[in-house]
């Protein structure tokens, strides 16, 4: 019966994606895409990837959804939301070609050897030296920490890119906030901070970690903006150092490990857990702040100037 669950989930997922990509009404497409994100997160849970499910639940459905909606409303104001979706001859050709690609990819995939242990054995061998028990965190913050270091740069670069092209944030809501919404935001703020801290702490031994916690913090920022509780001028001065906190922590640790004669980001085994937790805490704050500013969609000048 569990296979029936998988089949239902996959069919619903595919239907959702197809309807979202080919429907005429763009807002409907966005809403279907959000629903798609929720379903994908259930899919990760079925594939025994709770770490991924946590990240997807926070980012894929929550943050991406809010981003798409705010961009849609900006496009709607500029009357840019009509699209033509009929199938012309060129589109039939594109459909046929992608279909062929899909079939050939499927054939290749099904011919893969079925019980190859891949990298899981190597990781199980070395997990005791990594300082943490959660193998995904061990990969992210120890075995492949270069990748994560560079990812912090990617986050920062995308934000700088946004600020370079859009001098003013687009998301200040037009309608005044209602007291009920403000009350919800004030209630959720401490709650989400606690949940983010919990996920961060959990990340060492169980599914969770910096990205998931940072994404929850980012969701909190989105709520804060949407409820009109964010006051940009002073807030920006305070949060700007936080943007680079994660990167600086990473670089500091990298410098120290090189200074004591090891290679870059090769933690001493006795200190590994402490170092990982410090880096993760700094990264969580940076990710949360970056995602919030990303949602603003421009340099957060005060609304009266824009």
């Amino acid at each position: 019966m569990i296979h029936l669950v998988d089949v239902t989930l996959v069919v619903t997922l595919l239907a959702c994606a197809w309807l979202s990509l080919t429907g005429r009404d763009l807002l409907r497409s966005v809403v279907l895409f959000i629903a798609f994100g929720l379903l994908v997160s259930l899919g990760w849970a079925r594939l025994r990837a709770p770490d991924v499910a946590l990240a997807e639940a926070a980012v894929g459905s929550g943050l991406t959804g809010a981003l798409l909606l705010s961009a849609f409303s900006a496009m709607e104001r500029a009357r840019l939301t009509t699209d033509e979706v009929g199938l012309t001859r060129a589109r039939w050709l594109a459909l046929g070609l992608t279909l062929g690609l899909g079939v050939s990819l499927g054939v290749v995939l099904l011919s893969l050897p079925s019980d190859h242990p891949r990298l899981s054995l190597h990781i199980q061998e070395r997990i005791s030296q990594s300082g943490v028990l959660n193998s995904v965190t061990a990969v992210l913050l120890n075995f492949r920490s270069y990748d994560t270091l560079l990812e912090m740069v990617v986050l920062l670069a995308s934000l700088v890119g946004i600020w370079a092209v859009a001098p003013f944030a687009r998301v200040w809501p037009k309608a005044p906030s209602t007291p009920i919404l403000a009350a919800l935001a004030r209630l959720l703020l401490p709650l989400m901070t606690v949940v983010a801290g919990y996920l961060l702490w959990l990340g060492a031994d169980a599914p969770g970690g910096a990205f998931q916690a940072g994404a929850v913090l980012g969701g909190m920022g989105v709520l804060w903006v949407a409820a009109s509780l964010w006051h940009p001028p002073w807030a920006l001065r305070m949060v700007r150092p936080l943007l680079v906190l994660g990167l600086l922590a990473f670089l500091a640790v990298a410098g120290v490990t090189m200074g004591i004669g090891k290679s870059m980001l090769e933690y001493p085994a006795s200190q590994a857990k402490t170092l990982i937790l410090w880096i993760e805490t700094a990264a969580t704050v940076s990710i949360g702040v970056t995602l919030t500013l990303l949602f603003l969609g421009g340099y957060p000048a005060p609304p009266e100037q824009s």
Binding site: T178, I180, A183, L184, L191
Partner: protein, 98 residues
Amino acid sequence: MSWADGISLLCILAALFFFLAGTVGLLRMPDVFTRLHALTKADNLGLGLIVLATAVQLQSWTELVKLALIWMLVMVSGATVAHLIARMALSESSDEKA
């Protein structure tokens, strides 16, 4: 089957009823306000009963706190969002008349 399993089973069956009622209401009710009314039942009672069914299966206090938090969150944000949806629907329907 232990008594905990029995309680879980009853709760799950009742919850499924509420979810079914919510979905049928969502699909069959004539306008957005009545649909909203149908949906809030699924939100509060349906999820609440599932939470209860999960809670009787678990022994750990931290898990119980987490479950209570989930239920509370869904109730509070569900009620707020229902309020916001109703406002949005009201402004949309007045736009149409104007």
